[in-house]
């Protein structure tokens, strides 16, 4: 009886280890995605990291249902987006917000940097003015150059819907930026 019980406990522990290992793999695979989704909403690196951490912590607690990679990433994107939006709403009163840090070309002149920052700020303002549905679609399509199929998988939407949303988002952004 004792050996039988020890066997059950051993199996459970090994399964737990397997789940942990799987989670580590998915964490490494999706950390950038979660961070960038949060950053697209908050535009603050530290806050975005906090939100991504929170999303991963939530994902870990219900990881048994999210072992499939696609399912996990889709869930993570939605959770991160929601958490980031909530954080933004709660932080709205804060006036000071970190300015956008864009990966600039090497050794830019101060004038170039200022111009790029201004352009980025205008683009962010335009993206912020989009409805949520269009905003998340255009942001995901801009992260790591995801194609329509991948964005559709992340948002759990038909590819046609994603295409039409991307088209609408681009149209609005062009209107706002001209």
């Amino acid at each position: 009886m004792h050996e039988y019980t020890a066997g059950i406990v051993g199996n459970i522990l090994s399964m737990e280890q397997d789940l942990k290992r799987e989670f580590e793999i998915l964490l490494a695979d999706s950390s950038k995605l979660a961070f960038r989704v949060a950053f697209s909403v908050l535009r603050h690196s530290e806050n975005a990291e906090d939100i991504a951490q929170e999303a991963f912590a939530k994902a870990y607690t219900s990881f048994r249902d999210l072992r499939d990679r696609d399912r996990f990433r889709a869930w993570l994107v939605r959770m991160t987006w929601r958490l980031a939006i909530n954080r933004l709403r709660s932080d709205r009163r804060r006036s000071a917000r970190e300015t956008v840090t864009v990966n600039a070309p090497p050794n830019p002149t101060p004038a170039q940097t200022i111009l790029e920052k201004e352009r980025a700020a205008r683009l962010w303002t335009a993206i912020d003015s989009l409805p949520d549905k269009l905003r998340i679609t255009i942001v995901l399509s801009g992260i790591e150059e995801y194609d329509t199929r991948e964005v559709a998988a992340l948002l759990r939407l038909p590819e046609g819907t994603v295409k039409s949303r991307l088209f609408l988002a681009r149209q609005r952004l062009k209107e706002l930026l001209t």
């Binding site: 009886m1 039988y4 019980t5 059950i8 406990v9 459970i12 399964m15 737990e16 789940l19 989670f23 964490l27 490494a28 950390s31 950038k32 961070f35 960038r36 950053f39 697209s40 690196s45 975005a48 990291e49 991504a52 951490q53 929170e54 991963f56 912590a57 870990y60 607690t61 219900s62 990881f63 048994r64 956008v100 840090t101 864009v102 990966n103 352009r119 980025a120 683009l123 962010w124 993206i127 255009i138 942001v139 399509s141 801009g142 992260i143 150059e145 681009r170 952004l173 062009k174 930026l177 001209t178």
Partner: protein, 185 residues
């Protein structure tokens, strides 16, 4: 207007931000500090439940079948089955060489006691008494079966109805039909 590719490049550029190198370590720490996940808790509950079930099964197997059956059956079910299915044979007194009137009295008393225990909506008292008599006697010889014969009564004569003659009904218009002018066709 900017072409799509230029706009997409710009969006990619502003989103090309990476987390800090410590981000991974912080996420790991956060997960370690987090409360036990639901699936771990579920596994623990499952393991404890399985062990408890194994112990219960072992105890049940080691007990005698009669005791196990009594323990397994819920109390109300036991009472119901006793009351409905099994007639109270133990209450019946053994047949003694007593006078016929005394025997009949005791039988009636026993039957009425047994009948009072029966749920009357399912089995009528007469049927219950008959079943109990049958069980007591142990054979079918003592049961009297009476068959009433009914003599057939002669059927009344059937009289056929006579069909009277009806005169034909004339098929003529009651009023003369006047056709309007120019509408003759």
């Amino acid at each position: 207007m900017k072409p799509d590719s230029e706009l997409d490049r710009e969006i990619q550029a502003i989103l090309n931000v990476d987390p800090s190198p410590e981000f991974f370590a912080r996420v790991r720490n956060r997960i370690e500090e987090a409360p036990a996940p639901a699936w771990r808790f579920a596994w623990t509950v499952f393991a404890v439940g399985a062990m408890a079930a194994a112990i219960v099964v072992a105890i049940v197997i080691t007990r005698t079948p009669q005791e196990a059956l009594r323990a397994a059956l819920p109390q109300p079910l036991l009472n119901t089955s006793e009351r409905t299915n099994v007639p109270d044979v133990s209450a019946v007194k053994p047949v003694s060489p007593a006078p016929a009137s005394k025997v009949r009295e005791s039988r009636i008393a026993t039957e009425s006691r047994a009948v009072s225990n029966e749920p009357e909506f399912f089995i009528s008292s007469g049927e219950t008494a008959a079943i109990q008599r049958l069980l007591r006697s142990g054979s079918l010889e003592q049961i009297e079966v009476t068959i009433e014969t009914i003599e057939p009564q002669p059927l009344p004569e059937i009289q056929l109805a006579t069909i009277s003659f009806f005169e034909p009904i004339p098929n003529e218009p009651s009023m003369p039909v006047v056709m309007p002018k120019g509408d003759s066709q």
